[in-house]
Every structure is written in C-alpha cells, then in structure tokens.
Amino acid sequence: MTFIRFDRTDLKVDDLLLGDVALVSPPEVYARLTHLLENAEATLTAVVGVIEHDPALAARLLRLANSPFFALLRPVLNVSEAIALIGIQELKQLVLATEVIRHFDGIPANLIDIYAFWRQSVRCAVLARLLADRRSPPLDADAMFVAALLHGVGHLVIYARLPELGRKTLLEHRYRGEPLYAMQREFIGFDYAQVGEALARRWRLPELFRCVIAWHIHPEQAESHGAEAALVHLALAAGRAPSFDREQVRDFLPRESRPWELAGITHAMLEDALSEAEQDFLAALALLR
C-alpha cells in the first residue's frame, strides 16, 4: 500500500552548504596550514607563525599537548616544541578538531546541547584512538581520534541551516526509537553523513576523514577506508553507553559480525580499550575547554 507522505524536502546536500559562506568556509588556521604544508619546502617558522596568529587556538593546543592525553615526558612550552614532540601532521589535525568545535558555537542552545554533543563525540574519538592502537596492524591513532571526533559534524550543519527540521528529526528519533540518520533521510531527504562528507570535500579534509564521516553508519558500503569507518562505527556504538563499564557497553554493541571483521577489532580488544577510556576521555575534554 502507498502511504500518504508530504513531509520530505526536495533539498540537496549542497544547498545546505553553499548558501552559507561562513559555514562552508574551512577552519581558517587549518586551511592556512594545509595550504602551507602542501609544499614540501614550508619552514617550521612559517607553520608556527600561522598557528600563533590565533593565540586562543595556540593556548588550547598547548593545554592539550600538556594534558595526560599525550603523556609527554616533559612539559611543552611553545608551539614549535609541540610540533617537535607531537609531529606536524598530528598538530594540524588537532588544529582542525579545535577549530571545528569553535566553528559551530552558534547553534541555538534550545535545539541541542552543543557541549553534550561534543562530549559524545569525544567519547567516540577516545575509543577510536585506543582501538586503532590495539589493532593489528595498528591504524594511525591520532588521525583516528580526529576522524572519529568529526564523524557527526553533519548534524551541526543540519541544526544550523534547518533548525525546525533538525528539531523534528530529533523528536522523531527520540520518541519513535528510530535511528537519527533514518529520520533525517525520511524528513529531510538525506542524512548527516552525507552532509558531513560534502563538508569534508569543501574543506579539503584528508581522504581518511572524509571516508570515515561518509561511511561510518554503513562501513560495509565504504568505497575505501572501510576498516577505519568500521572502527568508528564500533567506537560510536560503544560510546553511546552511559559509561565505559564493559557490562553497560555490551548492550550497545552491534550484534552482527560484519563491522567487527571489517574493523579488525575483537571483543577482547574493545574490552581492553574500555579499561583506559575513562582516563583518556577526561584528558581529551581539554579540547572542549
């Protein structure tokens, strides 16, 4: 039987992005770093200069570098030391994470609790980082951290551009018990992963990030980076539990074996990761402060 429907918009993903210059503009410092690092001869001084041009960002990076999250052997006093100890690519990714969080400060508080949103993303990111290390062969843990942190960035574009539909999909998701992405497809016509992917393209994010954002809901459909997408899929599911307690997490894990196989992660690895997650999570919250 055909059911009467009248809700869905005829919008395209790009409509959300293109109409809003500020939103679609890449994070400033990250874009300048990328632009600069595209050429091999870029000097350390130039890189440091770009980061220090934004003192608030620099301070936040230093705070993060000195947090137990990196567990460095000695305190880091300035940006060039941070680059030396953490690595220039890693630092660039942290710049991205820090700037994206700041980028979406303007979401109306009555729509979603933006702090709670990022806390949830950090939970997922921390688990992704721990899982990346435990896998064999391991994945780039720091990249996985940032990729997982950004997996849901498309939600924020939806809330910023379509607040009413954003609220509707949230209500339908919460009270009908359907996945949020499914409600977005039903009422908007596309989901946050599609929006996030388009944003990643516009921002010229690395392929890994783009694929994780695009495919973490259905990693088996990934065109590439399926393992990373599957790993974030697991981390996201586990991160939804109210705590990192393994008993509580168990109920939230995917039952089907496909994502586990694809990610190369076993239940034992996950349980091992959970034992360190709380500590890492508290340290990584420095990103949000």
Binding site: D10, G19, V24, P26, L162, G177
Partner: protein
C-alpha cells in the same frame, strides 16, 4: 601602461626552473612597465598567497615560469596550484628560453591549466613580453570575477532553496510539537480518502483531545500548556506505527490518520492512546493535575465520505460524545447515534447562543399570574427568548438544554438575573418569577451578583421569585441547598416548578425553603375529562397547603378549567386564559386594568 593599471597590488612572480638568476627578465619587464617583479620558489609563492575560500574574493597573482624547454615541471606547478588557478586567483605563464614549443606541447600546457606559453626565440616576443603578460592578467581577472559571480549566484540560489524548504515546512507543521498542522493533515486526509475510494481501502481517523486543557494551562502558568502538548505529542509519536500520520489540528486537538485500519484496529489504538495519556504523571511543576484525553474514532469505508471536513467532523463529534461522558473515554462515530442527535441540536444552537450573549440580544417575555384571593394579577413569569434573527425560534426550552450541554447555561442565568432586577427597578409595582437552568445553583458568581444587583437597584428581594425544578435541586444536593438557603435568607422567594413531574417531589418540599408549588402543566390540560388527573391535583393542592405552601396552576386555557381549579383551592392561576406571554409589559398591564 603596466599591470598596476589593472590591480594596484599586482606583482609578477618569477619562478625559474633552472635555478639561474634571471635578472635580465625583471629588468626587461620593468623597462616595459611592470610595477613589481619578484623571484620566488614554489614554496615561497604558497606562503604569499591566501588560501581559496568559497564565496570570498581574494587577490590574484601572475607567475612567469621560466624553463629551458617545455618541461614537466610546468605541469607539476599547475597541478600544485590547481585550486588557486581554478578560482582565477593565480595565472601561470610558461616562458621557454628557446624556440617555440610544438603545438602538442602547447596544447598540453593549456590543458593542465597554464594560461599561455611564450618563448624568447625572436625579438618580437621579447619586445611585447609585457603586453602578452597583460593579456594573461586580464584573462585571470576575468576568470576570477566569473568564478566569484557564479559562486555568488550559487549561494543566493542555495540560500533561497533552504529558505523555501523552511517556510514550506513551517506552513505544514505545528512548531510546538513539530507535527503536521491542520492544513497539511487535511491534504493528507483528502489524498487518503481518494486513494481509499480508488483501491477499496477502509481507513480510520482518530480525534484526540486533552480533557480540561484550559485548566492545565491556566493553573500551571505560562509555558505549561506547550509543555503538556509536547509531552502528549511525543507520547503519541512513540505509540504509533510509523505509517500512521499524526497531526495537531488545533489548541489541544490531535489527529491520527490510520490508513488501511479497520474498526477493531482503530478502537484498539484509540484506547491504547487514551490509556497512555492517562498514565502521564503530574510533575508538580508543569503538570499539576491528572492528565486525561478523550478520543473520537471514525471508520470510513471507500466512497462513504466525500471530503476531509466530513471525516474531521465525524471524529470530532465522536470525541465530543466521549467528553460529555466525563472524558478519559473513547467513542466511535455512527450515523444513527442517539448521543449525536443531541450533539447536532447543540451544534445548531452554539452559534446563535454565543452571538446572543455577545451582542446582548436575549430578551424576556412576561406571562401574567393571577392571585385568586386578590382577584388581580399579582406577578409575572419572565420567559427567556432568543431573537429569531439569531436562527432560533425563540422558545427557551429548545435552546436551554443545548446551552447546558455547551456549558453556556450559567452565563445565560446571570444575564436573566441581571435583566430581571433591571425590570423590577423600572417597574416598582411589579413582581417577577424567573427560571434558571439546572446548573444555576452551581455557579459561584450567582450569589455575589444577586447581592450586588439588589443593593444597586434597591429592589425589595421578595419581589423576585426563582422557579427551580427538581432536576436543578438534585444536582450536587448539598451545595445547591446551601446556596438556595442563602438566597432565601436575602428575602427572595422560591417556587418548585413542574411539581409532580418527578418522582420524589414531596421530600424536596421538606428540605428546601420553598414558598410555592407550581403544579406540572400536564396534569392541568386534561383535568376536566380525567378524574385521575383531578385526584392528583387535588392531592397536590392539599399537601401544599398542609405544608404552608401556596399552590400555582399553569396551562389554564379556558374558563371552565379555571373555575374548577379555583374550587379545588389553588392560590394562583396562569395560562392563556389568564394572559399570553407578552413583550410589552406596559400595554399588558393597561389591558388588564380594563
């Protein structure tokens, strides 16, 4: 003429793949009019240029890439600076120190994004080098402007599409609950009716209404109403299969369209929703009272209804019936529903009554009552009328029941009391008996109004008689009795109307401060021919007298009946024989004097 003419900040950057100094080139360009020429490597160039930002303009730059012969390095640079080239922010011009490259190489260079390839083999090129660069510069700027312009239109278009989607959404949804609003729901219902007709599908509609919503809203304060609405909306969301459309039709009315549902399914779901709503726990803040809802159900077979408003009306009427049964109930619409006959009557009267109240268009007719002992008209009964222009035919009996069911009776009662006292004030020689609805003595405003009005008009209270019926007396007995006693204590009089029509009249005479009994007209009409009626009336007269009550007989239509009743001992007579109801009291009084 120089590049400065086109862009004040324009610098020509020179990259030399051979790594040899090319000072002669800078000198030559300056000689030909270039404002600024700088030698850089690719890395330095990156650092000088701002990154491309969608929707933002930026400076453009021109690069001369010098090479011995057509070199892969040129393509490599074009690839590296692809983003800037694409946005018209950078133009790369190849300069070959030697003979002209062949056509194929030249084509490859242009295909890779290079804007032009020049060569130094020949004085002509050397001489017009700067002119050729100016041309390239113009091309870059045109490209940049075009890209900027395109992006601008693209942004406007995208933004308009988003705005349209949002306003379309807002036009079809209720923004408190984010459910379909009435107009969207009505469209879906219309489509559903049509689909049902075409394919022979039975559908159903539920109309769910929160009981005493106004009370919740008023008691718990601002925002509490919206809170409750959202709570109920979310409860319904969670309770319904996804294919059933849920909407909010109005203030506290929700509707569910059940496509393909039969009566059993519809009733089951309606009751499930009712139960769920009744389980909402008061939270003491937003929700103070127990929450309940009533639900009307209508099942419409293919072709049984023609439009959405018909279905809405059926479900709404069924819901109304559920509400009149005390709420927290469900009811299914049926065409031969007796409860609905009342409802239709009520619907018919709702507008005229509201209108008459709002515009003060009710009026009173007066029927004389004769005192047998005095042999003259002692008082009048005031009869409520609604103007026929309002759509009614005037008689109060017809609309008062509807008014009671519609909850408007108490307002009418207050109007009657107010008007009666105005008349008594205008006619100091007059006494009036008024009829109030069965709910009148539930109205907390009645006593204060009466006291205030008596004080203001200085009318003596015993000139006003309230005619009450047994049914009025038994509603909330204790409360009614107290109020009647208080009014009696003011000095007003009470008559028990339609005496004999009920079953337990005698006990009321004992418990209420009644001054008069009005024998029900049905006993009077046939009294001359029916000895049983005669016996009953006689007994009522005797009982009344023995309890010290005066007795009135109404519906007296002829002289013989009147004489008979006088013989039987009545104190007052009323009916067409004595006088018909009249609007013009003065004329009636004059006529009676004759």
């Amino acid at each position: 003429m120089g590049l400065k003419g086109s862009s004040p900040d324009a610098t020509i950057y020179v990259i030399d793949s051979r790594g040899e100094p090319t000072d002669w080139l800078s000198e030559e360009l300056r000689r030909q009019g270039a404002a600024s020429v700088e030698h850089v490597n690719a890395g330095e160039l990156r650092a000088r240029l701002a990154p491309v930002h969608y929707g933002r303009d930026g400076d453009a730059a021109l690069v001369v890439f010098c090479m011995e012969r057509m070199d892969e390095a040129l393509f490599d640079h074009c690839r590296r600076f692809h983003d800037l080239i694409e946005h018209g922010r950078l133009g790369i011009v190849g300069l070959v120190y030697g003979p002209a490259p062949d056509e194929a190489a030249w084509g490859d260079a242009l295909a890779s994004g290079c804007i032009d390839v020049l060569h130094t083999d020949g004085r002509l090129i050397r001489q017009d080098l700067h002119h050729r660069l100016l041309l390239a510069w113009k091309l870059i700027n045109e490209r940049r402007l075009r890209v900027t312009q395109e992006q601008h239109y693209q942004m406007q278009l995208a933004d308009r599409r988003v705005m349209e989607a949002r306003s379309h959404y807002a036009a079809n949804h209720d923004l408190v609950t984010e459910l379909a609003n009435r107009s969207a729901f009505e469209r879906a219902l219309g489509a559903c009716i049509e689909l049902g007709r075409q394919r022979g599908i039975t559908n159903a509609l539920l109309h769910l209404d929160i009981d005493r919503f106004k009370l919740h809203n008023e008691v718990a304060g601002h925002g509490a109403g919206d809170h409750l609405l959202l709570l109920v909306a979310n409860l319904l969301r969670g309770a319904l299969p996804p294919e059933y459309l849920l909407g909010r039709l109005g203030a506290d009315e929700f509707a569910v369209l059940l496509q393909g549902a039969d009566e059993q399914e519809a009733m089951r779901l309606a009751d499930d929703l009712r139960v769920r709503v009744s389980q909402i726990e008061p939270d003491g803040e937003h929700i103070v009272y127990h929450v309940a809802a009533s639900c009307g159900v209508t099942v419409f077979l293919p072709g049984s209804v023609s439009n959405a408003s018909q279905v809405f009306a059926q479900a709404e009427q069924a819901c109304y019936v559920a509400k009149t049964r005390g709420g927290n109930a469900i009811h299914r619409f049926s065409h031969d529903d007796r409860a609905l006959a009342h409802l239709r009557e009520d619907m018919h009267w709702a507008r005229p009554i509201r209108q008459a109240l709002a515009e003060d268009r009710f009026f009173l007719a007066f029927q004389p009552i004769l005192s047998v002992a005095e042999g003259r008209i002692s008082h009048y009964e005031a009869l409520l009328r609604i103007p026929t222009a309002c759509g009614g035919d005037g008689e109060s009996a017809r609309f008062m029941l509807a008014a009671e069911r519609l909850g408007l009776a108490q307002q009418i009662d207050l109007w009657v009391v107010n008007k009666a006292l105005d008349f008594l004030h205008e006619h100091p020689d007059l006494r009036l008996a008024v009829n109030l609805s069965s709910h009148a003595f539930q109205e907390p405003g009645l006593l204060p109004l009466l006291k205030k009005k008596l004080a203001a008009t200085q009318v003596s209270p015993e000139r006003l008689t309230f005619e009450i019926t047994e049914t009025a007396a038994i509603v909330n007995l204790v409360h009614t009795r107290r109020l009647i006693c208080e009014i009696a204590a003011l000095g007003c009089r009470f008559a028990l109307d339609d005496f004999g029509s009920g079953f337990s009249s005698y006990s009321y005479i004992k418990h209420f401060p009644i001054d008069m009994l009005k024998i029900d007209g049905s006993f009077i009409v046939g009294i001359r021919d029916d000895h049983r009626d005669k016996a009953i009336v006689q007994s009522m007269v005797d009982v009344g007298h023995s309890l010290d009550k005066e007795v009135v007989a109404e519906f007296i239509e002829d002289g013989a009946t009147f004489r008979l009743l006088v013989e039987m001992g009545i104190d007052y007579g009323q009916g067409y024989f004595i006088g018909r109801p009249t609007l013009d009291l003065k004329a009636a009084k004059d006529r009676l004097k004759q």
